[in-house]
């Protein structure tokens, strides 16, 4: 009855973040970025060519079901793993979590104005969908139309003001035409216009949006919708106003791309759909219309194998060649011991952390927060819970950057290094007195609070570890395990210290709602107006270097307040056949992100 890793992530995310799969599912791996290229001295084209051909089966925990990954119904990591190889988009996320322009598709992408923010995309004239029709501005316009969140129709169930549904909740007066999983970025656009025979796209923003590279991922072919709906030219349809045309477009956009029909789920990249068997497999073959550098492998098959240990056995048995199952110590041991298998455990995007709640006056004293951070033995927790899967795991020391990301620096070890003596010294210095019971107290108030979590084993182990290590430092901490904690108590801030996870995101703006004053996901009531203002500025800063500096400052400001203690990233366990060259872990896009450069021997 295990929920899959991805749905777990989704659940843990609690909405922080443009969950990577939703808006950035589309990134492409250009051959030039792969680490497997020959040494740079070999500028000459005489280097041994990579062996061409071959077949690879990649195991997925659940199957991708739809070509359009931007709908809330079907948005999934499983789709992303497929779409990496066939869906075009101007940028892809590489294994360092950088947004890289996909040179095969884009001639150029430029910020031509910062006020108003204007981005001009120039599309490679050779770029075509697998049916030979050009990939062009229509496809960008469709993405904008579908995800700006402004088009809605009357709700047929709405009978009048005060109408409620079966559960007694108010019924909305209107329903959106498009089932968009997210509208971030698009909702800030003022217009998207086409020019230059539809090979140039100009996006103009109402308000600055620094993470604009996350938009226009996952393009779906607008000409297919035109053919299916009878709309002659989609760019002539007003993208923000309801009309019969847009309703037809919406209907098809929502469901028409389900099911991987090769005639509809067209390819705009290396591979195209050969066949799809529901709940079993998707077979990809080379796209003969692809205009760029062709991929090596003849076929890439994504096979649904739910059980992690079944994936491991199949890999060792040579039935599959690559996998990235749900982390499991037993399976990790199997993979580590298996012969003919490259096991490459990594730290994933999901990270655990403690949040202290501002509603509890005890945490108003910064000495308590810093003393607590000093008595949490992050390394010991990792050694016990993560190292069995990923021996290289380290404590996480940022809340905005992931370790592999440009801009990541250790900004938290100065607080989060286990040191009982230091912890006690901080408390003593702040007027706390160690009582005969072994716990500190101040003004008749004992140093006691609860750590709350949703009752899974890993969290319980984490909390117990902290309870024990902080007891040495004079903290009286109690574990509070509650299956409804995440869904009901966390969002309303009903806790002292919360232990839960966020999903890290390549988009630096993603955590804004968590750490801003009155942010939608700021459950702990953290208030630092200065940091909030800095964050806002950084999110609108279109100069990348400047923005990086600003983000670093935001990160430091948040961590210096010690309201949150980042702990560790959950491990991921990609593994592949020793005969396979090229795979490299990529948290948001999945292992297939660069499958176009994989080779088998």
């Amino acid at each position: 009855m295990s929920t899959t890793k991805r749905s777990q992530i989704a659940a843990l995310a609690l909405g922080l973040a443009l969950v990577a799969g939703a808006c950035s599912s589309d990134k492409k791996a250009a051959p030039s970025t792969t680490p497997s290229t020959t040494p740079s001295t070999a500028a000459a084209p005489t280097t041994t060519p990579a062996p061409a051909g071959g077949e690879v089966i990649y195991a997925q925990e659940e199957g991708g079901v739809a070509f359009n990954n931007a709908t809330s119904t079907n948005n999934s990591f499983a789709n992303t793993e497929v779409l990496n190889l066939l869906q075009p988009g101007p940028f892809y996320i590489d294994d360092k979590l950088d947004f890289v322009m996909w040179k095969d598709l884009m001639d150029s992408v430029e910020v031509t104005s910062t006020s108003p923010q204007t981005i001009v995309y120039k599309i490679n004239p050779k770029a075509v969908w697998s049916d030979g029709v050009a990939i062009d501005c229509k496809d960008f316009y469709l993405a904008y139309m579908a995800q700006n969140g402004k088009v809605s129709v009357a709700n047929p169930d709405f009978t009048g003001p005060g109408a409620t549904d079966a559960d007694g909740n108010a019924l909305p007066e209107t329903l959106p035409v498009f089932d968009a999983a997210g509208t971030t970025g698009y909702d800030q656009m003022k217009s998207v216009t086409c020019s230059d025979d539809n090979k140039t796209v100009t996006a103009v923003y109402d308000t600055p949006f620094a993470d604009w590279k996350g938009t226009f991922g996952g393009l779906v072919p607008a000409h297919v919708i035109e053919a299916k709906t009878g709309v002659a030219d989609i760019t002539k349809v007003d993208a923000v106003t309801d009309s019969p045309e847009i309703e037809k477009i919406g209907e098809f956009w929502n469901t028409g791309f389900d099911g991987w029909d090769p005639a509809i789920a067209l390819s705009g990249a290396w591979y195209k759909i050969d066949s799809y068997t529901v709940d079993k497999s998707i077979v990809l073959v080379k796209n003969d219309k692809f205009w760029g550098t062709a991929a090596n492998l003849d076929t890439v098959t994504l096979q649904v194998i739910t059980d992690a240990s079944a994936q491991a056995a199949a890999l060792e048995n040579g039935e599959i060649q690559a996998m990235q199952p749900q982390a499991d110590p037993g399976v990790a041991a199997t993979l580590a011991a298996a012969s003919g298998v490259t096991f490459s455990p990594a730290s994933g995007l999901v990270y655990e952390h403690y949040d202290m709640n501002a509603k509890n006056p005890i945490f108003a004293d910064k000495a308590v927060r810093t003393a607590f951070a000093a008595c949490v033995d992050r390394q010991d927790i990792i050694d016990k819970l993560v190292a069995p899967i990923n021996p290289d795991a380290k404590p996480l020391n940022s809340v905005i950057f992931m370790p592999q990301q440009t801009g990541y620096e250790d900004r938290f070890s100065k607080y989060g290094t286990f040191d009982v003596a230091a912890s006690k010294k901080i408390l003593k210095g702040a007027g706390w007195v160690l009582g005969g019971d072994g716990f500190y107290a101040k003004d008749g108030q004992q140093l006691t609070f609860k750590i709350s979590h949703k009752g899974i084993q890993r969290r319980s182990d984490t909390a117990q570890n902290t309870i024990a290590s902080c007891k040495e430092a004079g903290f009286n901490i109690v574990e509070d395990s509650d299956t409804k904690f995440n869904s009901q108590r966390l969002p309303i801030g009903d806790y002292d210290v919360a232990l839960f996870a966020w999903v890290g995101n390549p988009l630096l703006s993603a955590a804004t709602s968590v750490y801003s004053v009155d942010g939608g996901a700021n459950f702990q009531g953290y208030v630092n107006q200065e940091a909030t203002d800095m964050y806002k500025v950084a999110n609108g800063e279109l100069d990348e270097a400047k923005r990086l500096d600003e983000m670093k400052k935001v990160d430091a400001a948040i961590l210096d307040d010690v309201w949150t203690i980042p702990l560790f990233q959950l491990p991921e366990m990609p593994a592949w056949s020793a005969k396979l060259t090229g795979p490299s872990f990529n948290g948001p896009a999945g292992l297939t992100w660069n499958a176009n450069v994989w080779t088998v021997s």
Binding site: G15, G149, A166, G182, T255, A313
Partner: protein, 335 residues
């Protein structure tokens, strides 16, 4: 007989109807299918409202049930929460389960009944003791252990030993090689390649199923045979001077067959619901998986369709069991 079947089918309809109500109530109370969506603040509220509207979550339970039923009786089982046609998935899964279960069941029955009969005829012999102990051991083995053992010892080691490490002869997952018969490889879609590929995948799960199920049939047949072997009419048959073989097959076994066949038929009906553990271990995405997945994902339409197919199978095989019994036992009249 015909009127009996018609009557039984007619009786089954309200039964199915009642059961579907119970199933529906259970399903809609297992949780919120779009909880994930609700807990992501970046998903627009309007989108959530749209999903609620499309899935009918904003409607009262009775209205949802009636709407489901109205479509179901016309053979439309609706879509999954992922907007995929339910029937297509269930139909495929049914085929997968049938392929697995049918063969395994036939082999289990053949082996089990054979061992049971011999055990009974040679009661208290070394064979009987050996078979009884062996059957008991296999019967109590966890499927998971059998499955892992077979995968790692039989499949992986054996494949490498015979030099088929890259192109394994014995497969551990799935009901067929995923990229075997595809649009780009039509030459693999013929009968012989398909059967070869099927067998290489079916070997382990069938072996597992056979190992864990034949023991039950052996024990059951042994008990049934012991009963008939001690029956007066078997003594009569011997007194006629018939050969022992004829006494056992024509008299003892023929009569024991009535109960054995009934049990097999009932078992078979239950197996349509999926051999959940075996399917999970070997990644055969059959009916067992449909059940597990529909519960995990809180997918009402999928679960209801699973339930419907399973219920129909159980009812049908109950009916078949009755018919088999009636055919085998002239004392029973179906009218």
């Amino acid at each position: 007989m015909i009127s009996f079947i018609i009557r039984r089918v007619l009786v089954s309809i309200p039964l199915l109807f009642l059961a579907s109500i119970v199933a529906f109530i259970l399903v809609v109370n297992t949780g919120d299918p779009i909880e994930d969506l609700r807990t992501k603040p970046n998903v627009p509220k309007a989108t959530i409202a749209l999903r609620e509207h499309e899935l009918g979550l904003d409607k009262p339970v009775v209205e949802r049930y009636v709407s489901w039923l109205g479509k179901a009786v016309h053979g439309d089982f609706g879509k999954t929460i992922k907007n995929q046609p339910v029937w297509a998935q269930v139909r495929r899964s049914l085929g997968v389960t049938l392929r697995l279960v049918l063969f395994a069941e036939i082999v289990s029955v053949l082996i089990g009944v054979m061992i049971g009969v011999v055990s009974a005829v040679k009661q208290y012999s070394w064979f009987d003791y050996g078979a009884t102990t062996g059957a008991f051991l296999l019967y109590s083995l966890p499927v998971l252990a059998v499955g892992s053992f077979l995968k790692f010892i039989l499949a992986i080691r054996l494949n490498r030993w015979i030099g088929r490490g890259d192109d394994p002869l014995i497969k551990t997952i799935g009901e067929g090689t995923a990229n075997f018969c595809t649009a780009s490889k039509p030459y693999n879609c013929g009968f012989i390649p398909s059967v070869t590929d099927f067998l290489s995948h079916a070997f382990l799960p069938m072996l597992t199923l056979v190992l864990i199920t034949f023991a039950g049939y052996a024990r059951f047949s042994r008990a049934a045979m012991l009963e008939t072997l001690n029956a007066d009419y078997v003594r009569t048959a011997r007194a006629k001077g018939l050969s022992e073989r004829r006494v056992i097959m024509k008299h003892a076994f023929r009569t024991a067959l009535m109960t054995v066949a009934t049990v097999i038929s009932l078992d078979f009906g239950a197996l349509i619901g999926g051999a959940i553990l075996t399917e999970t271990i070997f990644e055969w995405h059959g009916m067992g998986r449909v059940l597990v997945e529909s519960i995990n994902k809180i997918d009402p339409n999928l679960l209801l369709c699973w339930f419907f197919v399973t219920a129909v199978a159980v009812i049908a095989f109950n009916l078949i069991a009755d018919i088999i019994y009636a055919v085998l036992d002239p004392r029973i009249r179906l009218d």
